[in-house]
Subunit: 413 residues, 2 copies
């Protein structure tokens, strides 16, 4: 893509009404625009990045047998009354002119349980796993963490259905592993801990995935031996201890909940009377698990973790482009060679942003740092005098002069 | 994909509470599930199909310079008051516990205009084109046309920005052509007419794209000479006439509005005071166009047009799978050969659904017809006795026996 045509300019000054670092950097880099507190538009660069994150999540969900569906945002009051959750504060509600009330989904147990009940009758059809990547809504009185906590946000929610606790437990571990694969692929695994949290009515603990960042709203206590953590919410009056090794020397950190998984058991199958026929022809309640992961929150978390004073430093897996080609000067030779490199990259399916704008070198370098693409290729009369381009890595700052004929080699293609 | 694992069974009987043919066929084929009137869940087969349609739209929007963004569903009351549209009935509204009111977007001029205003200042930055594919909401007291008119639905909306009417007019024609390319690719072009409709306050006419179907809510009058139509809404008390050739012998048809395009001119730039600096440094109002196309409505329209008494007949471009492999019988040889064909297709990236279920031939054929995949490959002991499979085309009903070694040839790969 040519940068002169790209909608969404970089902004030099951090917006004053935006306290969070992730949103500041994303706004300054031209990734998102703030419509109102907790509500953002994804500009072209931001949407490419969000879709890359969603695709990584999708691949890992498919790899553990997940089938993708798409449930509606509009929620049926009746189904939420069935589970006793219609009046929970986080639900945004719509009262229509024709006197019908809808909710806006912040989770989808009340949709997926009646859905599965319609189609599944026999033990032979278990287990199965349904997920979606969909925009959710939450009533947030104070939305001030940028895209870490939006009023409208993209989320992946997976639901698993089982005929035994053993099978639920087994899949729960498989899902846990898939989550760490996702965190690894998007570059936040080394800061992310499986965290013991409140289990609600049905089990002692649930599990969260907490990623250490000063922007986090939670406090966790990490056991560096077991590499797990405890959420402050379940630390009783005494000293926190590791639920696995009982170690009491835990490290306290601020963290953001990037995912959570939960053994629902029959919490939802019971009110909806979702039963199957077992091998003896007897009716049994279905057991369920749910597995949430905020895709836009993941985007914000990546930015919180990967930046420096000059802007974002995207991990390669989610960068909007792999290469940022920057042309300095307007001589015919520079134009010609830059266009050729650009075309060659496009031909090889290398994702490339070509800064063909009419700006000074200083402005272009500042822009490039804000946008944060992993590899920058600079072409100018000076580099061309040696038949070279300058290749700079955003993360390491490493610079090398590379012969034009050798560019493909440096880009690993 | 193996059908035994696929979530969403076919249903023999049409649901009684669903009057529309498109939703009946989509529900019976296991493509969608009705949550409530005008609100549907996309099951795996339906979501694949919807995404294919969205991707065709995306490709054609990119081809005419569109840049994809993603605006929020949550709408700012203030911006809709600016244009005087806050109180239009189709807007669903949310009143939160903290006394803030939001709307749910049914169109996005009130978001895209202030957005563009933030980033664009000079005539040099024009023209530009922004679009999104996003879920919209509409207050529909009676939602009874299946996915043709949902309360929540997927839509593509493109907005163009210009400095002169000439430029707007030029792009308007380009967009028109892109729409016909889309209709052609999804298989409804021969039933779709550019239709003159009411232009609102700012021009004599706007243009709709109307697709002939008995499920349509509109009445149009077609001039077969000019291949355009007139919407009944602008036919005055006298006889309808062709706006192009003045022909009065028009053909009356029921039709569904699959798209609309509109020269907004300064309808939205004026209230938002969206101006640019022209070549003389003088402020001028921006001129805009908008171009809507319902992706889920397109899905419904395709189904209304492509079906027979046994189910849906998908055009190849949007079919959930290219090939439906059906195994009859359980002998080792049938299993082995079927698995091999399945693996070979996957290796060649042929999209294949493999009916490996334990059902009778009659049930499987009925299922296959309901699902409507273009090419069916039947393998059984009988076909294998000749080293063959039976290949049947869903649309023509054409059947041929094909040597197993020749399957690739028949599938054009």
């Amino acid at each position: 893509m040519k940068q002169s045509k790209l909608f969404g300019k970089t902004i030099r000054e951090a917006p004053k009404d935006e306290p969070s670092k992730n949103a500041q950097l994303l706004i300054r880099g031209g990734f998102v625009d703030k419509v109102m507190a907790g509500v953002y538009t994804y500009l072209p660069l931001g949407l490419i990045t969000l879709r890359k994150i969603e695709n990584i999540i999708r691949e890992e969900m498919n790899a553990i047998g997940g089938q993708e569906i798409l449930m509606p945002a509009l929620q049926n009051k009746k189904d939420w009354e069935t589970t006793g959750r219609w009046d929970i504060d986080v639900m945004m509600k719509i009262k229509t002119s024709y006197d019908k009330e809808f909710g806006l989904g912040w989770t989808h147990e009340e949709v997926v349980t009646p859905l599965a009940k319609k189609y599944i009758k026999s033990y032979k059809e278990f287990p199965f796993y349904l997920y979606q990547i969909q925009n959710k809504f939450r009533n947030e009185p104070r939305a001030k963490s940028g895209i870490l906590r939006g009023r409208e946000f993209s989320m992946k929610d997976l639901y698993s259905f089982h005929t035994s606790e053993e099978d639920l437990n087994k899949y729960y571990e498989i899902a846990k592993d898939a989550y760490f694969k996702i965190f690894d692929r998007v570059g936040i695994k080394d800061k992310t801990y499986l965290t013991y949290a409140s289990g609600g009515d049905f089990s002692k603990y649930s599990h969260e995935f907490q990623t250490i960042t000063s922007a986090g709203e939670d406090t966790i206590y990490i056991c560096d031996k077991c590499e797990v953590a405890v959420n402050e919410e379940i630390v009783e009056n005494n000293q926190p201890e590791c639920p696995e090794c009982r170690n009491k020397k835990l490290r306290k950190e601020k963290a953001i909940e990037t995912g959570n998984i939960f053994k629902l058991k029959d919490r939802f199958s019971r009110p909806f009377n979702f039963k199957y026929l077992d091998q003896n022809g007897k009716e049994q309640l279905v057991l369920m698990g749910c597995y949430g992961l905020g895709s836009s929150r993941l985007l914000g978390t990546i930015v919180e973790l990967h930046n420096d004073e000059n802007g974002i430093i995207w991990p390669e897996s989610v960068a909007p482009f792999a290469v940022h080609l920057i042309k300095i000067g307007k001589s015919e030779e520079v134009n010609k060679q830059a266009e050729e490199i650009y075309r060659n990259c496009l031909d090889k399916n290398i994702e490339i942003l070509f800064d063909d704008c009419d700006e000074s070198a200083g402005v272009k370098f500042k822009d490039a740092d804000l946008i944060g693409i992993p590899t920058r290729i600079l072409i100018s009369e000076k580099t061309l005098s040696n038949n070279c381009v300058e290749v700079k890595r955003r993360e390491s700052g490493e610079v090398e002069m590379v012969k034009i004929s050798e560019i493909a080699k440096v880009l690993n293609c």
